[in-house]
């Protein structure tokens, strides 16, 4: 009976291990040669505040924060949120997306809005 009781815990680790391995296997080629789209946040505004992205293509968004304060790229439509440190740069992958307009904001300054236009 004692071994029966610990079974769920073993089952948990048995499930988690392959998932972690899978993640590691994916991690290598993650940031490959996807087209790069550059975006900056400057004086409380996105520059440009509309970026065009080809449909059904995975792209890499490179976001520069040219302010002295932190920003957070956030888009519910794209399920993305990433802090961009002051003076820093981050990149994240987006897509492949269907045609449409996808809004994003600076979560630390909601007035800064922009759109990714997928064509």
């Amino acid at each position: 009976m004692a071994t029966m009781r610990s079974a769920p815990i073993f089952r948990l680790s048995r499930l988690v291990a392959p998932v972690l391995l899978l993640i590691l296997a994916w991690a290598g080629p993650a940031v490959a040669a996807d087209p790069k789209i550059e975006l900056a946040i400057r004086d409380q505004q996105w520059v440009p505040n509309e970026v065009e992205v080809p449909a059904n293509t995975k792209v890499e968004l490179v976001i520069k924060n040219e302010q002295k304060k932190a920003a957070e790229f956030e888009s519910h439509a794209l399920h993305r949120e990433k802090v961009v440190p002051p003076g820093g740069q981050v990149s994240l992958s987006v897509g492949p997306l269907k045609p449409g307009r996808y809004e994003f904001v600076d979560d630390f300054n909601k007035a800064a809005r922009g759109f990714i236009v997928v064509k």
Binding site: R5, W26, V31, H79, V83
Partner: protein
């Protein structure tokens, strides 16, 4: 000042709700206040450190350090909440029986409070670091002056704490007989929501496939930006536009933790203990 208050409130809300639920789930356990307060304090100190190293963190692991960190923190919290629930499914009946006999003071059974303290600490760590970054940024840029900023931040924190208190007060009104069953469900859904959020971070880092970008879109019904949306996002993992992988992680978490709880209740021999 108002902007600062609103943003701080939004960031604090998630951690505050988790504290409220955890306090209700550990009702009657001796020393729970100290454990939970310790968790929050440790998480807050950690949040300062994380905010300080934000630049290094996002540059780490070829630019996906932030995502890996967020996902790891969330998965750790899921594990802690799951562990608590599994433990409770084995011992909850004894606790409830003891609580019914002794009124609200449960002295029997040492709940593994470290698991809950850790879960609370991890929530404070994640939400706190963003709050610190945000406030620090405003302080540097000097928008609106320091006094307004401090006041706004304090109002935001007080608002979040009130929300946490509200859910706690609501939960402890539930008769002790049902309380632990209700909190177990809440904790399970909380954990599932966190797993779904962690999946979103791994998706963002391009480590997981999406299995469908927007499985559905209920943002016209309830936006995640609204307070209700945000509360439900924390409590049950509500996502207006979920990716397939998020739904999969959500369901898998319920299946794994729920299954383990069932197994433990069945084989735990709680009835024989009487």
């Amino acid at each position: 000042m108002l902007a600062a208050a609103i943003i701080v409130f939004r960031e604090i809300l998630e951690a505050a709700l988790i504290v409220g639920i955890v306090m209700a789930a550990s009702r009657g356990a001796p020393g729970r206040g100290a454990w939970v307060a310790g968790g929050v304090a440790a998480g807050t100190v950690g949040a300062l450190a994380v905010a300080g190293f934000a630049g290094a963190l996002s540059a780490a692991a070829s630019g996906i350090g932030q995502e890996l960190f967020d996902a790891a923190v969330l998965f750790a919290a899921v594990a802690m909440l799951g562990w608590h629930n599994i433990w409770m499914s084995r011992h909850g009946r004894d606790l409830t029986a003891a609580a019914s006999r002794l009124g609200t003071a449960v002295r029997s059974g040492a709940q593994p409070l470290w698991a809950l303290a850790l879960a609370v600490g991890l929530a404070a760590l994640r939400e706190g670091s963003e709050t610190v970054l945000f406030l620090y940024g405003i302080a540097l840029s000097g928008d609106g002056g320091t006094a307004a900023l401090v006041l706004g931040g304090a109002i935001g924190i007080a608002g979040g704490a009130l929300a946490g208190l509200a859910i706690y007060v609501g939960l402890v009104r539930i008769p002790v007989r049902y309380l632990f069953a209700v909190t177990s469900w809440l904790v399970l859904l909380l954990a599932a929501g966190m797993a779904s959020q962690a999946a979103a971070f791994l998706l963002q880092a391009d480590l997981l496939p999406s299995f469908g970008d927007n499985l559905w879109d209920t943002s016209f019904l309830l936006s995640e930006q609204s307070v209700t949306g945000k509360v439900l996002h924390t409590l049950i993992g509500y996502t207006a536009q979920p990716a397939g992988i998020q739904v999969m992680f959500y369901l898998a978490t319920i299946a794994v933790i729920g299954g383990a709880m069932k197994l433990c209740t069945g084989g735990g021999g709680t009835k024989a203990a009487h």
